[in-house]
């Protein structure tokens, strides 16, 4: 998630509320899954429904980030866009390297959903180094 503590605009406050609204269900559903709440699901339809339910907050959180950019001034919009693009590129590169590692070097398999936390992890690492829109 974004470094929200440094900003106090109304757009950032809305971003925090939206992020909490999406991430709390995300954590709850995944915690339930870890503790076996959905182990009885057998049919493919129900399994895909569960996958979509778990994924929905991820989509929502990305929307919240794009909404923040749309509702912010030009500096914040440009800065977040740069951070978003760099983090996306680095995360995709890292995951691609691992994917080819799986294909060619017998690296252990990692589930695709890890790209999302990986992206935000990379975002947190690169953001302090991207403070300019130039």
């Amino acid at each position: 998630m974004l470094a929200i503590g440094k900003f106090h605009t109304s757009a950032h406050k809305r971003y925090v509320i939206r992020t909490m609204a999406f991430m709390i269900p995300y954590v709850l559903v995944n915690t339930g899954a870890i503790f076996g709440a959905f182990d009885d699901i057998r049919t493919p339809v129900a399994a895909w429904a569960l996958a979509l339910v778990v994924s929905a907050p991820v989509v929502g959180q990305i929307w919240a980030t794009l909404a923040l950019m749309a509702e912010s001034d030009e500096f914040v919009r440009a800065l977040v866009a740069r951070q978003f693009i760099v983090a996306s590129g680095v995360a995709m590169a890292l995951f691609s390297v691992w994917g080819f590692g799986e294909s060619y070097a017998h690296a252990p398999h990692l589930p695709g959903w890890l790209i999302y936390p990986l992206f935000w992890g990379v975002f947190g690492v690169v953001s302090p180094f991207i403070r300019s829109t130039r």
């Binding site: 001034d73 030009e74 300019s132 829109t133 130039r134």
Partner: protein
Amino acid sequence: MKNRLKLLRVERGWTQEQMGQALGVSRQAVNALETEKHDPSLDLAYRIAAVFERPIEEIFENPHVR
């Protein structure tokens, strides 16, 4: 882009927050403009010129003119 924004702001006795309110941008945007971490759009440059009642060239140094 080199500019005189901080000088003009201080002349008016404004904080970055107050200048941001006058321009309709965040304090972070004002800080980024003053520290040359953000080049303003043409729209924002004209807003700044209007707020300080000066031509853009008196506020921002034209990097293409020697």
